[in-house]
Amino acid sequence: MSILGTRVVRTEDPRLLTVGGVYVDDLAIPELDGAVRATFIRSPVAHAAITGIDADAARRLPGVVAVLTAADIAEAMRPDKPMAEPLLAIDRVRYVGEPVALVLTDGTCQGEDAAELVAVEYEPLAPVVTVADALLAKTLLFPAAGTNIAGTGTAGRADPDRFGGCEVVVERTIVNQRVAPVPLEVRATAARWSDGRLTVWASTQNAQLARDTIARRLGLDKSAVRVIAPDVGGGFGAKVGIDRDALTVAWAAYHTRGSVRWAETRSENLSGMVHGRGQRQTIRIGGHRDGRVIAYQLSIVQDCGAYPRSGAFLASLTQLMASGVYDIPGCGADYQAVVTTTTPIAAYRGAGRPEATAAIERAMDLFAGQIGMDPVEVRRRNLVPAQAFPYRTATGAVYDTGDYASALATVLAGAGYEDLRAEQARRRERGDVVCVGIGVSCYVEITAADAASGETARLAIDGDGSATVYTGSSAHGQGHATAWAMLVQDELGIPMERVTVIHGDTDAIPEAVGTYGSRSLQLGGAAVHKAASQVRDKARQIAAQLIEASEADLELDRDHGFWQVRGDPTTALTWAQVAAGAGEDGLEADVRFTAPQPTFPFGAHLAVVEVDTETGKARLVRHVTVDDAGVIVNPVLAEGQRHGGIAQGAAQALLEEVRFDADGNPQTATLADYAAVTAPDLPSFELLDSVTPTTVNPLGVKGIGEAGTIGAMPAVQSAVIDAVAHLGVTHIDMPATPQHVWAAINEARAAR
């Protein structure tokens, strides 16, 4: 029986549970003996010209090895495009937390003391805190660019007259607020220049991408840079590649020809690491009173923060996924991506797709409210039908496989939708202070959006018959070591405890893409599967020679890991024997798997929320989901991904928001101020099964890492609004904090 699809607990865990992982700041290796500690001096203001830096006093402090500023950085490493990002700020700072100088010290604590002594003179400039300010363009972050707009795009229908035939049109501007990724391990980097080579230990999701960026920015040959990702304490998209601060630490090691290590504080993390989301969305939806939606326009203003990074790309994904699970021929979308004097925005769990789902789901609810129809019924009447796949959307996506109506029906039945509505009605009739709200979201998202880049895997059978997998994919909690070993066992019959999985070292794995966009299993896992298949084909040839039988007569007994003439155990050869027969070349395969197109996981979520109408406090009491990601290799891992995703989506809906004051000062730069979701904020989740395989990879799998977030956020937001809809509330921007909910209730009451 195949091990695939069975509940296998993780092989990674015993080490993590007994001695703990080895994250960058835990590294106690000879290469880093004597490394100096790096401490950043960061901008305390959102927008200012730098008129002087005096580091003399800091340099005189005992233990200070160097104070580095932009003046130490070679001209060639400076940005050459108008909105490009320097390593250390050159003549202007554009967000609180921007790196201005770097202190290198002998001990851990001296850095903070020395940083206090570095005097930076700032001449304040007007802050640009909101996207509205950015669009006004009274102040430009990059005067040479002549604009605050970093990118624009349009997709789908653009003609305004498609709304002309609609009986009902609803328009609203909503906010998909800025949130912080908050990996529990903050950013950390160690770097060592030795013998003409730079080795960088980084907390990254993509060692190879990090290597390429370091080589390019420092003007080094790729072969002169090695990046190692040790254990990584969570990424959620925020650790894609290598960011500016980590790059600066790598540069410092190169510049000083020494060893440097750095681990930031959480406060630095919350103002210096990228944030996610940050869209102002204007939704316009039109259709008929029978529930049929015929036109939809999503207009996005994406906040990029101070430097464009991937802001415009996120908005382009939102645009691509604008119509969600619905068949809306008259769908169009457009975006403007703007810079503001705030922390840069980049990928965070979902990266552009939760924003699309939140918008269309909110639009569906508003439309349903306007025509007085159950929001579930409106959804049902507009879903892309199961027989329509592959389905091309108006904005250009080609959905591979799906059955959206089935997902919705399953979640409604599993949650007991009719009973929930009855309970809601009873409480309303009784005039209960605590109201119940039901929110339903249907979603489809894009995973492995860069399917053509693929992923690499090398699989080698060792002399003792064990296997080593070198995967280009990079794990930071997902359980690759377990899942990849299962794939090898399934294909080769080598028991998974005899399969070693290696990742995150550019010397061992020179070519790879790494982890983002829920691509790991469908590309990295499929690559492992492909490598295993090739090894099996080679092994068959070798075994045939050794046994002196025809290849066609051989079989691999996958239960025991033997090659033999079919039905004849007396001819059995072990993997060790076959590997020995491979000669000097060894028995291995080195592959890159690419898929013809991305995959589109889908599902439906139902959230039940209780809202105390006197305090505005909303509490998530049930969360029921269908998350169909195709074939499941290991249900334990898939459930873990769904749980974490749901929590982060619910957190954005209810609690989390990065805030700045009018001057651009962060108001949420500690975990005492940023409301990261905790255990008592959440219920246990109710997960329902659904499997619709994809046809674009041999495993039939889609991505599962981000789906939970994408489905949960709109369902929970909708549930909160639904709880108080009878009081006249039609919308509450996220997060649905007591303040927001209470204000919405009171505004609605006042308007009546």
Binding site: D13, P14, G644, A676
Partner: protein, 157 residues
């Protein structure tokens, strides 16, 4: 100043700066790096250890304050023969960890919680872990693991 703390049964003495935190003492003087630092406001709980049997956040305790005390970290939880503690076993069986960064603190907080309340409800587990953040699991499997460990603790060995 000179500080001696018994960590996982072994006395560790070190001459440390006055401002040295317990977590720094454990990581630097003790070389025990399972205990992690995830914040600077006593919010995340990644640094949770047992101090004379009770859970504390070791980022908010000075090493000098606990001179002469006994501390247990994740590394000291398994029995000497390597058998994992029931909470460790339950975390493994229930997939209560992903990246592992919050895990040392989460496990120690759970051990402390069950010492105080051997038969908690789900809500009590959730409330008891409020001071420990996990960004990966959504807490679902952590809560299940703590409840499973509680059950295992009540059953005769």
């Amino acid at each position: 100043m000179n500080v001696t703390i018994t960590v996982n049964g072994t006395p560790i003495t070190a001459d440390v700066a006055d401002r040295t935190l317990l977590v720094q003492f454990l990581r630097e003087a003790g070389g025990l790096t399972a205990t992690n630092v995830g914040c600077d406001t006593t919010s995340c709980g990644a640094c949770t250890v047992l101090l004379d049997g009770e859970s504390v956040k070791s980022c908010t305790v000075l090493a000098a304050q606990v001179d002469g005390s006994a501390v247990t970290t994740l590394e000291g939880l398994a029995s000497p023969d390597g058998q994992m503690h029931p909470v460790q076993r339950a975390f493994h069986a229930e997939h209560a960890l992903q990246c592992g960064f919050c895990t040392p603190g989460m496990v120690m907080a759970a051990v402390s919680l069950l010492a105080e309340n051997p038969d908690p409800t789900q809500d009590e587990v959730r409330a008891g872990l409020e001071g420990n953040l996990c960004r990966g699991t959504g807490y679902h499997h952590i809560v299940r693991a703590v409840l499973a460990a509680a059950r295992a603790g009540r059953e005769p060995a």
